[in-house]
Symmetry: C2
Subunit: 396 residues, 2 copies
Amino acid sequence: MVEDQVGAFIPGPRTERAGAAEGPLAGLTFAVKDLYDTAGDVTGYGNPDWARTHPPAAGDAAVVTALLEAGARLVGKTKTVELAYGLTGENVWHGTPINPAAPDRFPGGSSCGSAAAVAAGLADIAMGSDTGGSVRIPASYCGIYGIRPSWGAVSLTGACPLGPAYDTAGWFTAGASLLRRVGDVLLPPPSGAAATGPLLKVQEAWVNADPETAAALAPVLEAAEGVLGLALPIHLAPEGLAAFYEAFRCAQAVEAWTSLGPWITENDPAFGPGVKERFAAARGMDPAKASAGRAFRRIVQARIRALLAGGAVLVYPTSPSPSPLLSASQAEQNAVREKTMGVTAIAGLCGLPEVTIPAGRVAGAPVGLSFVGAPGSDRAVLALAELVSQAAGLPA
Amino acid sequence: MVEDQVGAFIPGPRTERAGAAEGPLAGLTFAVKDLYDTAGDVTGYGNPDWARTHPPAAGDAAVVTALLEAGARLVGKTKTVELAYGLTGENVWHGTPINPAAPDRFPGGSSCGSAAAVAAGLADIAMGSDTGGSVRIPASYCGIYGIRPSWGAVSLTGACPLGPAYDTAGWFTAGASLLRRVGDVLLPPPSGAAATGPLLKVQEAWVNADPETAAALAPVLEAAEGVLGLALPIHLAPEGLAAFYEAFRCAQAVEAWTSLGPWITENDPAFGPGVKERFAAARGMDPAKASAGRAFRRIVQARIRALLAGGAVLVYPTSPSPSPLLSASQAEQNAVREKTMGVTAIAGLCGLPEVTIPAGRVAGAPVGLSFVGAPGSDRAVLALAELVSQAAGLPA
C-alpha cells in the first residue's frame, strides 16, 4: 500500500480489492469517492452522522464492479465534501486533502480525495461524481484530467444521490489516454455523436475567467485549433452566466432537499460550515424559483444541444481561476464559487459531457481547459482531448 | 396584359402561357428570368449575341413546367444581367429595370427583371437564379421576399449555367405566405432538416452592414427572437468575410469560364461594362487561386453545416446597405459589390438556403433581413420567415 501523504483517502483501514486477472485496465489501480458503495463497507458520504446511520453496503456500486471486471485493482475510498455539497474540497471531519499540485491551495471538491489521489500518484484512476462541477473543478485545481460524462451515460447505481437530474459519475486520471480508456470501459457503446468541430469559444466563460487564466490556456487552445480549425467566438448566454448559475442553484437545491432532506430532518446531523448553510438554503428554496430554474434549463438545453448536434465543441476555462488559497476568506471563496458555477452550469444544466485537460499554470497553480460536446458524444470528446493533448505536448 | 411601366420584361412580344385549370397556384401569375427555357422561344440570357447564336428552346425549363402544372399562368420573361454575371441589375442592351421601391436606385441583379416585376405587381411570382446573390440582393433592394434554395434542391434543367456548383433556382414574391407556397411546389418533399433555432447573429455580417441598415433591421430581428428565442452573437468567419468573397470569386470564376468560355471564345460577343471585365478576369483566373478557393470552401462548409445541423438559423442583413444610387460611380458600385458578396458568399459557398424578408428602409430604400438554415431546411426556413413576418406585421 502506497503511503497517503496528501490525505486523499478516508480515515481507517483502506478498502482494497483485486481486479480481474485480465482486462483492458489490468495492472492499473483505482480509488473511489466515498459515495460509491463497496460491499461490506459503510459508505460514509463525508459525514460521520451519515456513516453512523447507514449499514454496510450489500454490494458494489456499478462502476466499482465494472472497473474490477476490467482488471483494475481497488486501492481505497477517497474523501468527499459532506454529502458532495461543496466545491473547495474541505472536510472538517476527515481533514481536507492536500492539493499535490499547489499545497497552499484547496484541492477542489466535492471529489477532493479522488483528485488528490490521482495527482499524488496514489491511484491511476479515481472515480468522482459531478453534479455542479465536483469532478471538473478539482481536476482543474489539481492539474489532472477529468470527465463529467453526459447525464445518464455512466451508471450511478450504488452511489449516494445529490441531485438526480444533474448527478453524473465521472473520473480522473493523470493522462489523456487513460482517461479515454476508462471511458471505453464505463461508457455506453459508441454512438453517432461526433466532436468534429467547429470549436465554439464561449465568450461569456472566457470573459468571466481571470485574464491570467485565459492567457495561460491560450497555447492549448491554439493546439486545439490545429486539430479542429479556428475557434469561433460565440455568446451562448445572453441572459448572463449568473442566470445560468441561479437556475442551476435553485432547481438543483430542490432536488438535493428531496433526496437528502428526509435524512437530515430525521437525524439532525452535524455539518461543517458552508455545507450546513447550503442545506439550510436548499430546505428554504422557493418552489417558484426552482420551477423558473427548470424552465430556464429547458430553454438553454434546447439552445445548446441544437448547436452541438452536428459535432460542434464548446471550449472554455474549466475554472475561471486557479484554486483559492487555503487562507482565502469565506467571502473570497463564495465569490470564486459564484463565478465558477456560472461556467460549470453550462454542462450541468444541459447534461453535456465535459472533459477538462491540465492546460496551464497561473502563479504556479494549475488551470484546466474544457471541451464540451453534445449529449452522448463522450467518447468523441475523450478522443479529441487525447488528440489535443498530444498536439500540445501534455501528458498522454 | 398588364403594362410594364418598370421595364421588367425583355423587349419583344410577351411570352404567355396558361397554367393548369386547377392546382395550388391556380389564379396566380408568374414570370421567369430570361435564362429559363420556354418552348419555342430563344432564351436570351441578357445578351443579343447569345440570342443570335442560340436556337429556340425545344422545351420548357423544369421550373416552368412545375409552375404551369401547379396552375400558375406565365406572363412573361424578365430581364437579366448579361449571362447573370452582375449584382446591380444593369443591362445596356435591354435597359435596366426600374426599382419600383426606389426608382433612383438600381434594382439589383442579376435577376433584376424578376424582382422588378414582383415589386411592381406585374407578377405574383417570379423565378430568378442565384449563384452569388442574384435573387437575394434584388429582393433586398426592391423590398420583396426572395429565396435562394439549398444547392441542388430545385431543378435547373432548362436553365443557362453560370457556375454549376453554385447555381440555384430561386424565386420572388411580395408576401411570405406565397413564397412558402411556391416552395411547396418546387422543393423536394419535407426532410427532417429543421429551423427551430437558436438564432445565430453572424457578427461579421452585422458589423459589415452600414449602421443605418443594421438599425433598420432591429425590429424584425426582435420579432424573430420572439419566435426562436434570444439571438446568439457568433463569429463565423475568423478569416474575414473578404476571404469568403475571395474564395467564392476565384472558385466560381473558373466555373463560369468553364461553362461559358467556349461560347465567348467562339463568338466574341459584345458585353456591357462590368460584365466584360468580369469574364476577362474569369478567363485569366489563376488555377491555384481557384483551387485554394475550393479548399477554403470545404473548410467553411464543414464548419457552418455542422453548426446548423441541429436546427440553428443564421440571421444577418441580406445586403450591407440599400441599393446604390443610379448615379453612383463605378468605384462606389465596386465597393458595394465587394462588401455585399462577402455576406452572400456565406450561403453561396456552403450551399445553404437563404430567405430574405423586406424588413426595413434606409433613407426610404428597402433592406432585407436574411434567415439561413442547414442544407435541405428550405421548407423550414420558409415557414420560419412566414412566422417572423406575421410577428413583425410584414406582408403575409
